[in-house]
C-alpha cells in the first residue's frame, strides 16, 4: 500500500461500494490520502507481525502486490530477498484466514520468457517458462499462491502485468528510456507493450471484486519498438549489436539507470502479450494505449518544483 501501485489500488478500493474495511501493509507509508484504510508499516522480513495483522483482520480478499522489480527500488539480490520474504509472509498468512474467499497476486508477462521460438504474443494458456531473474521471481509468486489456493480451496487470480509505467512508479525501463542517450538493439529493435499504473490498479480492483480464479494478462493495446519510443521522446538512439551491451549496462548504471536482464531481454526479444482475456473476464480494458503511455512517460517532468511553503496563520 506504500508503493505507487499499492496506493492507487487502495484509493480505488476505498471508492468501491462492496469494500467494507481495508488493511494494508508495506515498507513505505501510503503516497495518497486514504480515508478508510488502516495501514501497518512493516518490513517483509517481519513475518510474524504480518501474519498477526492479516489473521486478526481475517479478510475476504487478499491482494498481494509486494513485488520488487530488480533495479526499480532495490538491486537484484535485495529485490529477490524482499519479494520472497513478502510472498511467504502474505501468502502464508492468507492461508490462515478462515473467511478468505479469494487472493489476487501480482505477476508479470515476464513469466512467459522469451526463449527462441516462443510465441510473439503469448496468451494465458502459454506455458510459464521464465528466462530472466524477474520472470522466475514472478513465477515463484504464482506457484506459491496456486499451491495455497489448492490446499485451502481459494480462488487465486494472477494478474500478469506488462511493464508498469507511471508518473511515480519506479521502473528500470522508464528510467532507461528517459536517459538523454538510449541504447537499443540494432539488429532486433523488437516491439514491446506496457501498461499505465492507473489501468493496472483498476485491473486489481476488478479482479478482487469478481474473485478472479485464473491468470489474466493486463496489457495496454498497441505496441512500440525501442527506436520508435526513443524517437518519440526526442532522445538520441545508440545502436548496439551485442557484446557492447555489457559496457552500456555499466555506463547506464553509473548514470543512475541500471538495466536489469529482463529489460535487456525486452530490448533484444521484445515483450508482447495477448490482453484480450482481461476484456472478457474482468470486463475491463486499459484506457491508455502503449504509444500513449510512452508519450506520457516523456511528458512527465523530471523534477517537480514545489513553491516555498508560507505559514498563513
Amino acid at each position: 500500500m506504500g508503493g505507487e501501485l499499492g496506493s492507487l489500488v487502495a484509493a480505488q478500493l476505498e471508492a468501491e461500494p462492496w469494500v467494507g474495511a481495508l488493511v494494508g501493509i508495506d515498507v513505505d507509508p501510503p503516497r495518497r490520502r486514504l480515508r478508510k484504510a488502516e495501514f501497518h508499516l512493516l518490513q517483509p522480513s517481519q513475518r510474524e507481525r504480518i501474519v498477526d495483522v492479516v489473521t486478526k483482520f481475517n479478510p475476504h480478499v487478499v491482494i498481494n502486490l509486494s513485488v520488487w522489480e530488480p533495479d526499480a527500488r532495490a538491486g537484484l539480490n535485495h529485490a529477490r530477498q524482499f519479494t520472497a520474504d513478502a510472498t511467504t509472509a502474505v501468502v502464508g498468512a492468507a492461508a490462515e484466514c478462515p473467511a478468505l474467499e479469494s487472493m489476487v497476486v501480482r505477476s508479470g508477462i515476464e513469466v512467459y520468457g522469451r526463449a527462441r521460438n516462443t510465441p510473439t504474443r503469448p496468451t494465458e494458456r502459454t506455458p510459464v517458462d521464465p528466462t530472466t531473474e524477474y520472470g522466475r521471481m514472478l513465477a515463484n509468486i504464482e506457484r506459491s499462491a496456486r499451491e495455497v489456493g489448492t490446499r485451502v480451496g481459494l480462488a487465486v487470480g494472477k494478474l500478469r502485468l506488462a511493464p508498469v509505467l507511471g508518473k511515480h512508479v519506479p521502473s528500470p525501463l522508464g528510467r532507461l528510456l528517459r536517459q538523454p542517450v538510449v541504447p537499443f538493439s540494432a539488429l532486433a529493435d523488437a516491439p514491446f507493450a506496457v501498461v499505465q499504473d492507473h489501468d493496472a490498479a483498476r485491473a486489481f480492483v476488478e479482479a478482487a471484486r469478481l474473485r478472479l480464479d485464473e491468470p489474466v494478462n493486463v496489457v495496454a493495446p498497441g505496441a512500440i519498438t525501442a527506436v520508435q519510443a526513443i524517437v518519440r521522446g526526442k532522445r538520441v538512439p545508440l545502436p548496439l549489436f551485442g557484446p557492447e551491451w555489457t559496457i552500456a549496462r555499466q555506463f547506464s548504471h553509473l548514470f543512475g539507470a541500471p538495466i536489469p536482464d529482463h529489460v535487456v531481454e525486452l530490448m533484444h526479444r521484445g515483450r508482447l502479450a495477448d490482453g484480450s482475456k482481461a476484456r472478457d473476464v474482468l470486463g475491463f480494458a486499459p484506457q491508455r494505449t502503449t504509444p500513449e503511455v510512452i508519450d506520457q512517460l516523456f511528458a512527465w517532468p523530471s523534477v517537480v518544483r514545489v513553491g516555498a511553503i508560507r505559514e498563513v496563520a
Binding site: R116, P119, T120, G222, D274
Partner: protein, 234 residues
C-alpha cells in the same frame, strides 16, 4: 557564477539538439499488437513492386471483419506467402499476416515488422482469436503448379478458433514481374468431427482445393518461347 555553471549545460543541450535534428524526421509511428509495422511495409512496397506485379482475385470471398485462415501453395524461393500477404493486405485493406518467419536476428525481427508470425499453432490461434487474417503455406514444392501438404496442426488452430479457411493459389514467374494470388471459396469440412480428425481431413481438403485452383490456372506464358518450354513459372 551562475552563467559559468549554466554554460556546459547549454553546450550539451545545443550539441544534443544538433545531433537529434536528423532524428526528428524519422518516423516515430508505432507497430501493431503483433509487431507489424504498416509504415515500413508502405515504404518497402515500391521495392516489392519492382519484383512482383501481383494480380489479386476472389477477395470477395474473405470476411470483412472476422479472422480467417488462408492457405497458399509455396514454390521454393518464390516467397509466395510474402507477396501474397502484401497483395491481399492491399486489396482487402486489412493486415494479412504470413506464417513462417524465423526467430533469429536480423531476419526474424525484420520479418515480424513486415507481418510475419512464427509457424506455431498457438501463434496462429492467438492471431485468429484476435480476428486477424493469417496466411499459411503448404509444404514447399519444387514444382510451380503443385500444392504440398498442409500442416494440420496449423489448420487445427483455425478449427479451435472457429475461423473459416480459404485456399489461395499463387503463381509467379522467376523471370518476369507477373504474379497472381487467387482466393477460393471457403473450404467446409465434408463431415463433422469432434476429435483431431477434423483438422487432418480439413488440411487434406484445403490442399486439394489449392491444387484444383492451380490446375485451373494453366501454365504462365513469358512470351519467350524457349523460356516457356522450361518450367520457369512458380
Amino acid at each position: 557564477m551562475a552563467q559559468i555553471v549554466e554554460f556546459p549545460r547549454r553546450v550539451a543541450g545545443t550539441a544534443a539538439n544538433v545531433l537529434a535534428e536528423p532524428l526528428r524526421h524519422w518516423p516515430a509511428h508505432s507497430v501493431d499488437d503483433f509487431g507489424r509495422d504498416p509504415h515500413l511495409i508502405a515504404a518497402l512496397s515500391p521495392l516489392a513492386r519492382l519484383r512482383w506485379n501481383v494480380g489479386v482475385g476472389g477477395v470477395h470471398h474473405l470476411p470483412v471483419r472476422g479472422g480467417a485462415l488462408l492457405v497458399c501453395n509455396d514454390r521454393r524461393w518464390a516467397l509466395s506467402n510474402i507477396y501474397a500477404a502484401w497483395a491481399l493486405s492491399e486489396a482487402t485493406g486489412r493486415p494479412v499476416r504470413f506464417v513462417g518467419r524465423p526467430d533469429f536476428v536480423p531476419f526474424g525481427p525484420f520479418m515480424r515488422r513486415i507481418g510475419g508470425l512464427l509457424a506455431r499453432p498457438d501463434e496462429v490461434l492467438g492471431a485468429l482469436r484476435n480476428h486477424e487474417l493469417v496466411l499459411i503455406s503448404c509444404a514447399t514444392s519444387n514444382h510451380a503448379r503443385h500444392a504440398g501438404t498442409v500442416d494440420h496442426a496449423l489448420v487445427g488452430a483455425a478449427v479451435m478458433a472457429g475461423s473459416p479457411i480459404f485456399p489461395v493459389a499463387t503463381m509467379s514467374s522467376s523471370v518476369s514481374r507477373t504474379a497472381r494470388a487467387e482466393v477460393g471459396p471457403q473450404v467446409r469440412p465434408r463431415r463433422k468431427r469432434r476429435g483431431p480428425l477434423a483438422e487432418v481431413e480439413l488440411a487434406e481438403q484445403v490442399q486439394h482445393h489449392v491444387q484444383r485452383m492451380l490446375d485451373g490456372f494453366g501454365g504462365m506464358q513469358t512470351g519467350v518461347a524457349p523460356l516457356d518450354w522450361l518450367t520457369a513459372e512458380g
